[in-house]
């Protein structure tokens, strides 16, 4: 893509918030464009953190395997969100595996280039602090949910979080616009496939969600989910 389009794609990225055209130009020039396809992994948990990424477009799910072999879904990343940048700066192995959920494009910078950019534009480091702070808040909320909420509340909260981050308003309600299996939901909420299935089937019957007809789950009565999650 041409340079101007690249600049426009990095302009709204939180990590580069507040940079002037010179800064955005430097960021855009230093980036490598990588088209990615569904199912692809940007890197594997445990790999050396040699590059940082920002999602150009598409959706990516961040998976982490626990020491006893269970998969946990940490979060979903959409356009403008950064991946792996913290590991690059902490010089630790990547702690998770980003899995591409739909064909898209990412921008990639080497560790050296990121260092350079941060040295030239300290605002980038400040922004990184803000982004990471936001993620910590989200994780604290989820930890609190696991510690204090019944499983139905956690599943409702997870669906609402997804809706908030990636949802699309459609005629029937709010659509989660990428494939989301019951197994995915189990891994996002520290519960079992059986419990998620039972819960979604019940909500399907009550008309709260539409989870069977297409591959994209639709929340038909979002406020009802908010009540179940205890946030109304």
């Amino acid at each position: 893509m041409d340079r101007q389009r690249r600049v426009e794609l990095v302009r709204p990225v939180g990590l580069f918030s507040g940079l002037d055209d010179e800064g955005l130009g430097a960021v855009a020039d230093a980036a490598l464009e990588l088209p990615v396809s569904k199912g692809e992994k940007l890197f594997e948990q445990g790999d050396d953190a040699t590059h940082g990424y920002v999602v150009g477009w598409g959706q990516i799910r961040l998976d982490q395997v626990t020491p006893d072999g269970q998969n946990v879904v940490l979060r979903h990343m959409g356009p403008g969100e950064m991946i792996g940048i913290v590991a690059v700066f902490r010089r630790i192995p990547f702690p998770a595996t980003p899995v591409v959920l739909e064909d898209g494009l990412v921008f990639r910078w080497s560790a050296a280039r990121l260092s350079d950019l941060m040295a030239r534009f300290p605002l980038i480091a400040q922004n990184a602090l803000n982004v990471v702070g936001g993620r910590i808040e989200e994780l604290q909320r989820r930890l609190q949910e696991v510690a204090t909420q019944r499983v139905e509340q956690r599943i409702a909260s997870a669906l609402l979080r997804l809706a908030n981050q990636a949802g699309r308003r459609v005629e029937e309600g709010i659509e989660i616009p990428f494939p989301l299996s019951r197994q995915d939901l189990a891994e996002m909420t520290a519960t079992t496939l059986h419990t998620v299935s039972r819960t979604l089937s019940a909500w399907d019957q009550e008309g709260i969600v539409e989870s069977r007809r297409s591959s994209h789950l639709v929340i038909r009565r979002p406020h009802r989910l908010v009540e179940i999650a205890g946030q109304a």
């Binding site: 939180g14 507040g18 922004n127 979080r161 809706a163 949802g167 308003r169 406020h223 989910l225 946030q231």
Partner: protein
């Protein structure tokens, strides 16, 4: 007074309303509506939210207009870095 509620009301989501006129937050809380903290505020219109909370939509909108009457709209993008 700022006229927010013209024929655009059906298109204005609670999320958009609160983003542009943070002064409206107080009114939602007064009505015991949790919209300011709600993850689906970006998708619900003011009428829909009023319906879910069984609140008089006209009264709500009147009070919102009064609260934001002298407040200038916020110009931030609202996007967190």
């Amino acid at each position: 007074m700022t006229k927010v509620f013209t024929e655009d009301l059906s298109d204005l989501t609670v999320g958009e309303l609160l983003r542009r006129w943070p002064a409206a937050v107080r009114i939602f809380l007064d009505y015991k509506m949790n919209c300011p903290a709600c993850p689906i505020a970006p998708f619900m219109t003011v009428d829909e939210a009023a319906g879910e909370y069984h609140v008089d939509a006209q009264a709500l909108k009147r009070d919102i207009e009064q609260a934001i009457g002298s407040a200038a709209p916020s110009h931030t993008t609202g996007e967190r870095p």
